[in-house]
Assembly symmetry: C2
Homo-oligomer: 345 residues x 2
Amino acid sequence: MSQTRQPEIRRPLTLRDVSEACGVSEMTVSRVLRNREDVSPATREKVLNTARALGYVPNKIAGGLASQQVNLVAVIVPSLSNMVFPEVLTGISEALDDTGLQPVFGVTGYSAEKEEEVLYEMLSWRPSGAIIAGLEHTDAARAMLENAGIPIVEIMDSDGTPIDSVVGISHRLAGMQMADAIVAAGYRRIGFLGSKMTSDHRARKRMQGLTDGLATHGLELADTELYSGGSALKKGREMTEAILSRTADLDFLYYSNDMIGAGGLLYCLSKGYDIPGQLGMAGFNGVDFLDGLPMKLATIDACRHEIGVQAANIIAGKDQGGVIGGHRVELTPQLVHGDTMRAPS
Amino acid sequence: MSQTRQPEIRRPLTLRDVSEACGVSEMTVSRVLRNREDVSPATREKVLNTARALGYVPNKIAGGLASQQVNLVAVIVPSLSNMVFPEVLTGISEALDDTGLQPVFGVTGYSAEKEEEVLYEMLSWRPSGAIIAGLEHTDAARAMLENAGIPIVEIMDSDGTPIDSVVGISHRLAGMQMADAIVAAGYRRIGFLGSKMTSDHRARKRMQGLTDGLATHGLELADTELYSGGSALKKGREMTEAILSRTADLDFLYYSNDMIGAGGLLYCLSKGYDIPGQLGMAGFNGVDFLDGLPMKLATIDACRHEIGVQAANIIAGKDQGGVIGGHRVELTPQLVHGDTMRAPS
DNA sequence: CTGAAAGCGCTAACAT
DNA sequence: ATGTTAGCGCTTTCAG
């Protein structure tokens, strides 16, 4: 099932080809194709028709080199395999849509070294800006970002020192906020369920915030259950079964993300637990496709889409009063009580 | 909260800077940085150290122009807002990881016009290959792809005529396969629940396959319910309630995707339907994060990850015996009976 | 193994 | 409104 390609090696068309085909100088053709105003309607028409007829596609490599500007925005995220980052990317993509800027995505797999590689690769295309998840980078990556001479927006997290701009939420505060809400609702025996992954700094900070928050009320985690890999919903079930059979008197389960929380919720409902009376539950992220669950899981909205939009707007220079660099946007994550947590007592 | 950037406009470093800093010709520096063998270890060492110390990042724009080669692969998908495409992208990303090729993603929002724009934009970077979802394109887009002179892989779908290579499944067959399975299991009053979106060609083909398949058994759809937008899980609930209250004697519900199917399943379980006895249900895609549901939804695996991997391998020239162009990989979607469908009678 | 020259395809800056 | 000239920063090619 294979065929060789047509023998004629069609050299890609150049501006010169269009120029010759319509008897207008390369420069003018270039002007038309970049939608510059200073061309007569007649010439413009002629050039456009020829270009279209020939199927000319401009060479941005050459254009970028000549003009020293590239309409690309490097976007670097750890993963695409849960809904969190795709939602951010969607926000970025939307916000950039009418700006002439084009997002270019890279994935790091939560590895700092891979991040450094991807970053190097992307910066070598001399993008107009970069959006990168998190505030933790290798020294080399940090140096590259500092020296790139373009706007950098670190996103998702605001707990730390940004290189340039930052748009995110404080995961530490989110953890503390949840601790306060849990305690206010009268729960005392709290279990934590999360990922083994140590390189997910935001999850780590949430957990830290939670334990610190509990500590201010004189409490500590009663038990902890960690997982790695696999289907989150299923893992949530399994972990919940494990932690409840180990520590039967838990009265609250805090999940590091909504997916495992949803799995846990389905498990507890099937086992006939009284939620939220006997057992309270909460997750993190506020993913809205879980809306159809039998009960609405308590969670904290991580403002993912909004983060993408705002980060992109900073790069695009929108809404910024012309100020370049050094923006700090800390979004306030909203606690959604849902149905799985008692009202504050 | 803003600060102006440092006054010194640091011009990005060039090869010449490195060359001067270490007293080696630009050419040799270039050789070292491209890992070419023909440089003495001593010079190599010296150059590498200088480059690192200076924080030099090569300019791929200039490199690409000079060498007429760009290590980019354009990847164009309709959306990032359900797990389907991120999974494909993950497959592509993994397969390209050790090839020196870099994927660049573009999103079309299921719009043919937007696809054309994104494609134009991406081809203007002269990528080494392109991967694009679906076989339906505008005439202009098709012309661009044909004339790009690079390997093109259309993915996800195999019902139609590819431009160059194709990796996918037949959604029409998947629909027919499901029809056969439904009928074999003894169900007769079948409802269809899907999206209003007419531009999702694959969903349309699945539905067509389903109705055609049913027709071969002398059956037709008893009712249809369509949705647009919103949380899929919740929509699944609502649609299921609607269709069942309108047509109470349905004995099978076919959902156009697993997410709405999961919502429907949760609804039916909560209403005490006997699944799969009284009512059978099935979705499409085989998304594995639904594994933790109370029952495993019958579905057809769309091989998303595998499609990404194989498409990327074609572009990278792996596993192809050196053949360029014209590959046709039709994957066989597996029906997963799950728990929501009776065994064939 | 290393260097010098030429030019990739386009656009900034300057004519006209 | 249109054309001319001179590079952009790198790599190809050819010489040593």
